[in-house]
């Protein structure tokens, strides 16, 4: 009996719970990947690569430099030339707001892909800035934006109040991007006021956490609020959202918090500028970004897979997207 129990114990210990297996399913084989995200005012470009087998190792360059890539920009046909330096196919023509983009890429081994996108129209956005100083002990009671949020010791806040002009006749998608400094964002506006009193985000880079607050027990569209969760990439914070709850009078208020530590004072003295950009995204650019986030959130063996959205037609994938950008910077020294 003792021997039997020893054998059983050994069996359990020796048994690894994982093992490497061979893939025996179907594989569609490598396909062409065309990525093109064009900013109005810049020259159009396309990067053409190919996909790799999911168990392939190493880091080879999969750029396809011998593809035939053409682009129609606002009805004007262009052949794009490959540049080995930036590995892109680039056009001489600039992208204009409201124009229609069409790309076609053909390769002898991977067939042909094509896609279409409409560049968003130009939009307007006013930005008001403000500054408020606090005592060194903490936040004044009347700074309602911060209630319930652990903001640490701050002595001043500079805020950026964006008033977006949204065309109610069509869906619009926006991205606001800031430098990675501790900051708040809150949204106030006519439409949102009826849905919620205020919404605040706190972002502490490099790690992110967010707290949403909505007053009055009012009920909003939670997915829309989730869209506002920032996307952190390369240390830069960006907020992507649709205009489903925005109106002409909607304000998006971002606030940069100055901490009383010496390093922050040094930044202010050094005339560091807070750079920001507001982008109006095409539907394809917005959808692709949201789909990528969903893909990442559910890329787990415990979840049903989320297929990556693409607007590339033919035997390929990727995205053709575009955006119009307004950008500026604010010197913190001005405060």
């Amino acid at each position: 009996m003792k021997r039997l129990s020893l054998i059983l114990t050994a069996l359990i210990l020796v048994t690894g719970c994982t093992k490497d297996i061979e893939y025996r399913g179907t594989d569609r084989g490598p396909i062409m990947v065309a990525n093109s995200m064009n900013r109005a005012g810049d020259k159009a470009y396309v990067r053409v690569t190919r996909s790799r087998y999911f168990l392939d190792s190493g880091n080879p360059d999969y750029t396809l430099s011998d593809a035939a890539v053409t682009m129609t920009i606002g009805g004007s046909y262009h052949e794009l030339n490959y540049g080995s330096r930036n590995r892109n196919y680039t056009s001489d023509c600039t992208v204009k707001p409201g124009s229609i983009l069409q790309i076609s890429a053909a390769h002898p081994d991977f067939g042909q892909v094509y896609a279409c996108d409409t560049v968003p129209k130009a939009f307007s956005c006013t930005v008001d800035t403000a500054y408020q100083a606090f005592s060194m002990k903490g936040i004044a009671i009347d700074t309602m934006f911060y209630h319930g949020l652990d903001v640490g010791m701050i002595d001043s806040v500079c805020s950026f109040d964006f008033c977006l002009s949204s065309d109610t006749g069509r869906n619009e998608y926006f991205m606001i991007e800031f430098e990675p400094i501790r900051r708040f964002i809150s949204i106030r506006g006519d439409t949102l006021d009826t849905i919620c009193q205020y919404l605040s985000y706190r972002i502490a880079t490099p790690t992110l956490y967010a707290i949403e607050m909505i007053d009055n027990e009012s009920i909003g569209d939670f997915s829309e609020l989730m869209d506002l969760l920032p996307v952190i990439s390369n240390g830069i914070n960006s907020f992507t959202f649709s205009d489903r709850h925005l109106s002409d009078t909607t304000h998006l208020v971002f606030e940069l918090l100055m901490t009383p530590v010496d390093s922050t004072l040094h930044i202010i003295k050094s005339d560091i500028k807070a750079k920001y950009a507001i982008r109006s995204l095409s539907w394809a650019a917005y959808t692709y970004q949201m789909a990528a986030r969903n893909f990442g959130n559910h890329n787990s063996p415990m979840s049903e897979p989320v297929t990556m959205w693409t607007n590339i037609q033919g035997d390929g994938t990727g995205v053709l997207g575009s955006y119009v950008e307004i950008s500026d910077s604010l010197s913190l020294r001005e405060f």
């Binding site: 059983l8 069996l11 359990i12 048994t15 719970c17 994982t18 093992k19 490497d20 297996i21 893939y23 025996r24 399913g25 179907t26 569609r28 084989g29 990525n35 995200m37 064009n38 900013r39 990067r47 190919r50 999911f54 168990l55 392939d56 880091n59 999969y62 930036n86 590995r87 892109n88 903490g138 936040i139 009671i141 209630h147 319930g148 652990d150 007053d215 027990e217 009920i219 569209d221 989730m226 830069i236 960006s238 982008r279 995204l281 949201m290 990528a292 986030r293 893909f295 890329n299 063996p301 415990m302 979840s303 049903e304 897979p305 989320v306 297929t307 990556m308 959205w309 997207g321 950008e325």
Partner: protein, 807 residues
């Protein structure tokens, strides 16, 4: 044949002195406990006409006046024969005795109306004793895992209790406990089901040809009935296992009048873990830590009360409550401040029913009930900061809640106007409250540690409750057209109203039997089903966060048509054989659109799902032996299940059909129990099933954009080919169970049980993933990433012990 005496009084009631036919009615029950027997038969031998007891043990048989010879039957029980001259309506209650010669293991068997002579097909009844005998993981006998061994029922992920019946999804199963739906049948993320076998009397699974009184789900009905409680004697059992302990106690409150049955079980991993945390300082997070607790447990409580007001009136009250709880508490003190962090993640069901049985006349039986069922999920995170000098508390907390709540009023009438007809009709009304997702934040006080000043606030966001109303009317008749032909014909009409939209469906049902000889019959059936509630899930296992949502004006109710045909053969006293083939189509099935997921279900959830259709077909074979020292069953299923989503704007897999996730082509199960003696018996189960499908992206690409201004959060994106493009390895496993019994006295018996799950330690797939490893390539002088496909096996060989004392 050994003649048994009728156990209870024979009461003669004269109703109609001038009629040529009269009715014999009453209850059939277990003689020793007075527990009513569901599906027992009563047959008049001279005329060959018979009846079957309903869910409450009641029968009604109308016969011509004159001499009758009634014989009752229930597998595992001795038959009782009674002869008399019928001159008036007569009430007779029969008490049947278990067969004395089978003292070692007496298995009460398949209900006769589901076998050769009944009109019902695609239904299986598993005796509770057989479910308890099936070897189980951690020694925890499980109803749903026993059902997984039946033909046409497929398993989800390995070792989980989810059932996929004839290609249907888990939310297409109507799981009833005493006639009330249970919305989440899983404990421990699906590794155990909520049904505690100790509390149960009977489990019946319907896979098709559904009787008209069942509606609301497309693929199956699992009708679980709790024990009423022994009317004669108190008895029970206590069991201690490696994962949980449980007890069952039943008996009379007033003999022959009122009885109770109570069962409870609880796991105790949390108790063990917390004891370890308290005894060992190494688990301390910091020197300021005062206390810490964490763990997981689940519990179940089943209670049933049964009161007999008169021969014609009975009242049943049944209640089930069960929760799973994951918790974490951490308390630390720093000077004058004491801070408590608390996480409490809880989910579970509560089901309650009050039921009144009334015999309106010998031919008419009424079952009226009011019931409540709810499933709710709640996760709470709280921080409480206490100033130990002033005693003031500051509190900040966030809670996430979701759930579904139903209140139902129902009346079912069972009318037997003649021996040819066994009629049911009735109606029910259900008020649904869906609570898809609400998040609440509460804050009050001033947090000194962080320096924050907080005003009192109470904030809610998420979605408001959604209310819906559901009504069903039905009628069905089990008609004996001739000796050879019997048909169960039914029609159900259901209405569902939500947010001003009303749906209604007329659902015909038919099941026919052609008796070729006393031991062989052919059956065919058809059922049209509708389903108004949907479960949103994006996971391969059951998670408590999965949400029930109603049909809307965009997401229409799901529908299914199913036809089935089969042959049934009985080898008298040996075994029952069945061979069935089915074809089922389903409409308005839901899947997520490409690129979408359900991070949170808001009022736009319907924008994120695609609507499609599915079809399934297969052949099922089963041999079942329900009595004797050797009993069990053998089953084989060949089946195929496919889905297609090709509607505009809702295309999946390029609009092409694809195999459903749990399309397992072959499934072979053997379950057997053997009693060597009164002191020792053993059981074994061996299963083989084709691996389920999965979708693996076989190509990937870097998402990096040349334009760095629009970021894609994932550095690597996958290209999926065909949906469900790979199959996991087949699953096969041998489970063994050994029971040693010892009789201490006339009343006390102890049983030591050893279960061995996966006895030959096969590495069955739980999931498959891509494993990435980075190693330094000294020749290339760079780090190189390698990728392999890896299979995770969750449960290798798993022995477990339990000890039960019955008294």
């Amino acid at each position: 044949m050994k003649r048994k005496t009728v156990s209870l009084a024979l009461v003669l009631l004269t109703v109609n002195a001038f009629g040529q036919k009269h009715t014999v009615s009453g209850y059939i029950w277990d003689k020793s406990s007075h527990e009513t027997l569901i599906g027992a038969t009563i047959l008049d031998l001279p005329s060959g006409k018979g009846a079957i007891t309903n869910e409450y043990g009641f029968y009604s048989l109308t016969l011509p006046d004159g001499p009758v010879e009634l014989r009752t039957g229930y597998v595992g029980y001795s038959t009782t024969t009674l002869s008399f001259s019928l001159t008036a309506d007569t009430v007779i209650d029969f008490g049947l005795q278990t067969i004395a010669s089978l003292e070692e293991v007496t298995i009460t068997g398949n209900r006769l109306e589901l076998g050769v002579k009944g009109s019902q097909m695609s239904a299986v009844d598993i005796p509770i004793e057989q479910i308890k005998a099936v070897p189980a993981m951690f020694g925890e006998a499980d109803v749903l895992k026993a059902l997984q061994l039946l033909p046409g029922v497929q398993t989800g992920t390995e070792a989980t209790a989810g059932i996929y019946v004839r290609g249907g999804a888990p939310d297409e199963n109507l799981l009833l406990i005493d006639g009330v739906p249970v919305y989440n049948v899983n404990h421990m993320f699906g590794f155990f089901s909520v049904f505690n076998p100790d509390a149960l009397k009977n489990v019946t699974l319907y896979k098709g040809s559904f009787p008209a009184h069942y509606c609301g789900r497309l693929s199956s009905v699992v009708d679980v009935r709790m024990k009423d409680g022994d009317m004669q004697n108190c008895h029970g059992n206590v069991s201690v296992g490696m994962v949980s302990s449980k007890f069952n106690f039943e008996g009379p409150i007033i003999r022959d009048k009122t009885s109770f049955n109570i069962s409870a079980r609880r796991t105790y991993s949390d108790i063990v873990l917390n004891a370890a945390l308290k005894l060992n300082d190494r688990f301390k997070f910091s020197d300021m830590q005062d206390d810490m607790g964490m763990g997981y447990y689940f519990y179940d409580i089943n209670i049933k009360l049964n009161h007999k007001f008169s021969d014609n009136d009975r009242l049943y009250a049944s209640w089930y409550s069960g929760d799973d709880d994951i918790f974490f508490d951490y308390i630390e003190s720093d000077g004058e401040l004491r801070t408590k962090d608390k996480l409490d993640w809880k989910w579970g069901n509560m089901v309650g029913a009050l039921r009144w049985n009334h015999i309106c006349s010998p031919k008419l039986f009424m079952d009226a009930s009011a019931s409540y069922t709810r499933y709710r999920h709640k996760m709470g995170i709280d921080v409480i900061e206490t100033d130990r000098i002033t005693g003031t508390d500051n509190h900040a907390g966030v809670a996430m809640n979701s759930g579904i709540y139903d209140i139902t009023l129902r009346t079912d009438m069972h009318w037997s106007p003649s021996a040819m007809h066994d009629t049911r009709f009735g109606a029910y009304y259900t008020h649904h409250r869906f609570n898809p997702d609400v998040i609440t934040a509460d804050m009050e006080g001033e947090f000194k540690e962080s320096g924050d000043t907080i005003l009192d606030s109470h904030i809610n966001y998420g979605q408001n409750n959604i209310y819906a109303d559901e009504v069903q009317f039905y009628a069905e008749d089990d008609i004996s057209i001739s000796h050879a032909i019997k048909a169960d014909v039914g029609l159900s009409w259901s209405l569902f109203n939500v947010k001003g939209h009303t749906f209604n469906n007329l659902e015909p049902r038919l099941s026919m039997r052609f008796l070729l000889n006393d031991n062989l019959s052919m059956k065919a059936g058809y059922a049209y089903m509708s389903q108004y509630v949907h479960l949103l899930s994006n996971n391969t296992i059951s998670l408590p966060t999965d949400l029930w949502v109603p049909s809307t004006d965009i997401i229409m109710p799901e529908h299914s048509h199913q036809i089935a045909a089969g042959a049934f053969y009985q080898i008298e006293g040996v075994a029952d054989l069945s061979l069935e083939a089915y074809y089922k189509t389903e409409e308005n099935l839901l899947e997520y659109k490409e690129g979408e997921s359900m991070m949170n279900a808001d009022d736009k959830w319907y924008d994120k799902v695609a609507i499609g259709r599915g079809w399934s077909y297969g052949v099922e074979f089963m041999i079942q032996r329900s009595i004797g020292r050797l009993n069990g069953w053998l089953s084989y299923t060949w089946s195929r299940t496919q889905r297609q989503f090709d509607r505009e704007g809702m295309v999946l897999n390029a609009g092409n059909p694809f195999d459903a996730k749990y399309d397992r082509r072959h499934e072979f199960d053997i379950t057997c129990n053997y009693s060597f003696s009164k002191r020792f018996d053993m059981s074994a189960t061996w299963i083989y099933e084709t691996g389920n499908c999965g979708t693996m992206y076989t190509q990937y690409y870097e998402s990096d954009m040349p334009d760095k201004n629009v970021y894609v959060s994932e550095p690597e994106l996958g290209c999926y080919g065909d949906r469900n493009n790979m199959r996991l390895n087949p699953t096969h496993r041998l489970d063994l169970g050994f029971n040693w019994h010892r009789q201490f006295s006339d009343r006390v018996r102890r049983t030591m049980s050893l279960s061995i799950y996966n006895a030959y330690n096969n590495r069955n797939p739980f999931l498959v993933y891509v494993y990435k490893d980075t190693q330094y390539d000294s020749q290339a002088k760079e780090y190189v990433e390698t990728r392999t496909l890896r299979q995770l096996t969750l449960f290798p060989i798993l022995p477990s012990l339990s000890y039960t004392v019955s008294f």
